[in-house]
Amino acid sequence: MWRKFEYVRPETVNEACKIHFEESSSAFLAGGTDLLIQMKRVSKVPKLLIDIKNIKELKQIAIENGRLKIGSLVTLREIEKSDIITQKFNLLSTAASNMGSVQIRNRGTVGGNICNASPGADMLPPLIALGAQVKITGLDGSKTLPLEDFFKGPGETVLNRGQILTEIIIPESRGKGAFLKYTVTSVQVAIMNIAVWADITEDGFCKDIRIAMGAAGPKPLRMKTTEELLKDRRITEELVRKAADVISNEIQPSTRERARVSPEYRRHLSKVLLIQAINSVIGGNR
């Protein structure tokens, strides 16, 4: 049961942005698997929900000039099942396939997962590791920025009133990836997750690497110091162990009372996840 709100279902991005801009107490409704739950827990709800699911242009998965474009309304289930994605960017489909239940994945969208800006959201590390850009459209046109710059803090993004996330663009890049999620029981939100995308040669030389972690700080984090240590080096067991030490200091674990594990344990987990993720990428190379 929700408190009362109004509802509107625009057909175009422009219309949606306009309504959002004009009504200060409004929210975009995509899959609703985060928003509608949050709205049940509070007595104050937005005055107006703008259901964007009728905007057809936001539902495409396509390869254009080597770049993968995912519309923000593409569901997690579609990402899980997409042939293009499972073949080329399996870390993305792996991440999607481990989120919530089938019922949630049938409704939840990639755009929603991004805009909800939960620090542990499973889609974020793989997208960041893949160097994803996001396209933001507003009344005054569109702009594109790296996904890792999209977040300001827990639940906070750079989006302004009247702006909508329309598309996720993944550039063409050589490499292989891995995504790992640590939970205690299934279907749960990640206690921690990691995505690694790396271009490692047959003989173990790391030409390029991007590492992103979730639930490792107030927002999904790109682990640049750790990346630098590994980049342009031959990946040895010793180097990976060193990288693990570095990543455990690079994360910014929450000390909030609500946090389910201690910062100390989280730092340890970051090591375990990194080692496992790199081994998985190298293993995939062999």
Binding site: M1, W2, R3, K4, F5, E6, Y7, R9, L29, G32, T33, L36, I37, K40, L49, D51, K53, R77, G100, S101, V102, Q103, I104, N106, R107, S186, V187
Partner: protein, 157 residues
Amino acid sequence: MKFQIKINVNGKDYELLVEPNLSLLDVLREKLKLTGTKRGCEEGECGACTVIMDGKAVNSCLVLAVEADGKKITTIEGLEENGELHPLQKAFIDYHAFQCGFCTPGMIMTAKALLDENPHPTEEDIKRAIAGNICRCADYTNIIKAIMAASKSIKRI
């Protein structure tokens, strides 16, 4: 403001006037009196309210009634045909795949969506498919057996 919606539930068309803050679950249970779909957590976590909407299993507690406009919905009440139980329903009886029964309608609907998409699931496929449906009486063994048996009997048809 109220919205006029058209939904097809279990093959029957309905035109309804709904408030935006009603869920599909509210409409099924309160307006259409289809109380087989259960209210378990209303947060999309337990799966007791699972129905099939345009071929996909969804938590009806997390779908606004207005969002269901124009959709085709199947609930547990829509599975029997000409007084015959659906193979899944029969298998749930034969394999003692329920106890208190509160999760059963949602569990069967999730299983149906799975078999519609993947008629020959492995045990792992079944486990993954029903992971969104909590059974607190908790004998998943018999539920998995029942779904497996139903998948085989459907194949014969």
